[in-house]
């Protein structure tokens, strides 16, 4: 099972990304665990300076943007 983290400070963009990821996971019935993380310490440790950050299985995939649906889907399918 993939573990997905959305790191955010509570801004609108962060919540949107979280919502979008969950939606894609639900629609495609993916075996993925999604967590929303508000811990600044963890963000900094990962080197994320702009929110939202998207981390899949420990790897930072995007920062500061909401990636396109198609891209999110392929990441959530475990493709890179």
């Amino acid at each position: 099972m993939l573990s997905v983290k959305v790191l955010g400070t509570g801004c609108a963009k962060c919540k949107n990304l979280d919502k979008k990821v969950r939606q894609i996971v639900d629609e495609n019935r993916l075996d993925v665990e999604v967590n929303y993380i508000n811990d600044i310490q963890e963000m900094i440790e990962l080197g994320i300076l702009s929110t939202p950050g998207l981390v899949i299985d420990g790897e930072v995939k995007s920062v500061g943007i909401i990636p396109k649906d198609a891209k999110l889907l392929s990441w959530l399918n475990g493709e890179f």
Binding site: T9, C11, C14, I40, I44, E45, S50, V60, S62, V63
Partner: protein, 341 residues
């Protein structure tokens, strides 16, 4: 639908042509609408208000779309992560200048001010240089620039851009010189920051065009309503409030007008879009440009919500110094504006 690189660039170029045409003939189009289609009588207050509104809204929107699009493309070349690397170990002053300039072109949202502050300070960017970034990023923003350009002309826009940068450079420089590191919350220096390598260097130009389009959708989607309301209020003031109504209150002769404008502006929080059309109308009725611009700068550069966010990493003393120095800078700029105009 997949559009290839070449046709996308062609599409953008043809849209630019249409843009140019609309912008050049906007006055004629508006007059045609007002006098031929709506058949309004010339020279009445109501007609003038409607005409002002129907001309200014599309003009500002056109400028907004164009500039936000290009700024979006420019910003796709920058990220806070890259900016941090560029600023690491930079000396004072040169570092402050570089940091202020990068503050303008790096994508930034005040909601990520804390991770950014931590990441910068931890990786060895000096405190004053970090502040230059944090001041320039909200102070010089593309929406304010567009509105000043559209409603006041390029000279005012340029003056705003350069004085905004100067405030960021000098405020950061002074904060650096004052050696205020002890007023940063101690836990900040215990954070271990990671380095992030993202492979966004080889984006194709068509992908950068997408970034520009995304920026337009995001920013215009957020501010259009403020612009319409702001210009509507402005249109009302434009035609109904008597000339020189504001002269005694916010005019050039009233020496206290600039500091008062800043004191009023600091706790206020609004985006530039909502405030500038009102500001333009005030100006027309006799308020001085210095007071009005100082008001605008203090509203967008310093705000209560941002100060509350910064409280997490800064002690009260440093927050006071920060607000005090920036506010003083804005007041000086306000007087400079009044001298020039």
């Amino acid at each position: 639908m997949k559009i290839n690189e070449k046709s996308k660039i062609l599409l953008v170029l043809s849209l630019l042509l249409i843009w140019g045409f609309l912008y050049l003939y906007l006055a004629e189009i508006t007059d045609y609408l007002v006098f031929s289609l709506l058949n309004l009588t010339a020279e009445t207050h109501l007609t003038e208000s409607i005409r002002f509104f129907l001309f200014e809204v599309p003009k500002v929107m056109l400028l907004l779309v164009l500039i936000v699009f290009f700024v979006g493309i420019v910003r796709s070349y920058f990220s806070p992560e890259k900016t941090r690397k560029l600023l690491g170990g930079k000396n004072h002053f040169i570092g402050n200048i570089l940091s202020s300039l990068l503050g303008v072109v790096t994508p930034f949202c005040s909601c990520s001010a804390i991770p950014l502050f931590l990441g910068f300070v931890e990786s060895g960017v000096p405190l004053g240089v970090t502040f230059s970034f944090l001041i320039a990023a909200p102070m010089v923003n593309e929406v304010a620039l567009v509105l000043l350009l559209g409603l006041f002309g390029w000279k005012t826009a340029l003056l705003y851009l350069s004085t905004g940068l100067m405030i960021a450079v000098f405020s950061g420089y002074i904060i650096g010189k004052l050696k205020l590191e002890k007023y940063v919350e101690p836990w900040v220096y215990k954070v271990k920051a990671g380095q992030l390598e993202l492979d966004d260097e080889n984006l194709k130009f068509s992908q950068r065009i997408d970034t520009g389009v995304d920026a337009v959708i995001e920013i215009v989607g957020k501010v259009w309503i403020y612009i319409i309301i702001g210009i509507a209020v402005g249109a009302g003031i434009h035609s109904y409030v008597p000339e020189n109504f504001m002269a005694s209150l916010m005019g050039k002769e009233a020496w206290w007008s600039v500091p008062t404008a800043v004191i009023l502006g600091v706790p206020m929080y609004s985006n530039a879009a909502g405030i500038i059309p009102i500001v333009q109308a005030l100006l027309e009725k006799g308020a001085s440009l210095g007071a009005v611009l100082a008001f605008m700068m203090s509203v967008i550069a310093l705000s209560l919500p941002e100060i509350i966010i910064l409280k997490k990493v800064l002690k009260v003393q440093l927050i006071f110094v920060f607000v005090g120095i920036v506010a003083t800078g804005i007041i000086i700029v306000g007087y400079i504006f009044n001298l020039i105009y």
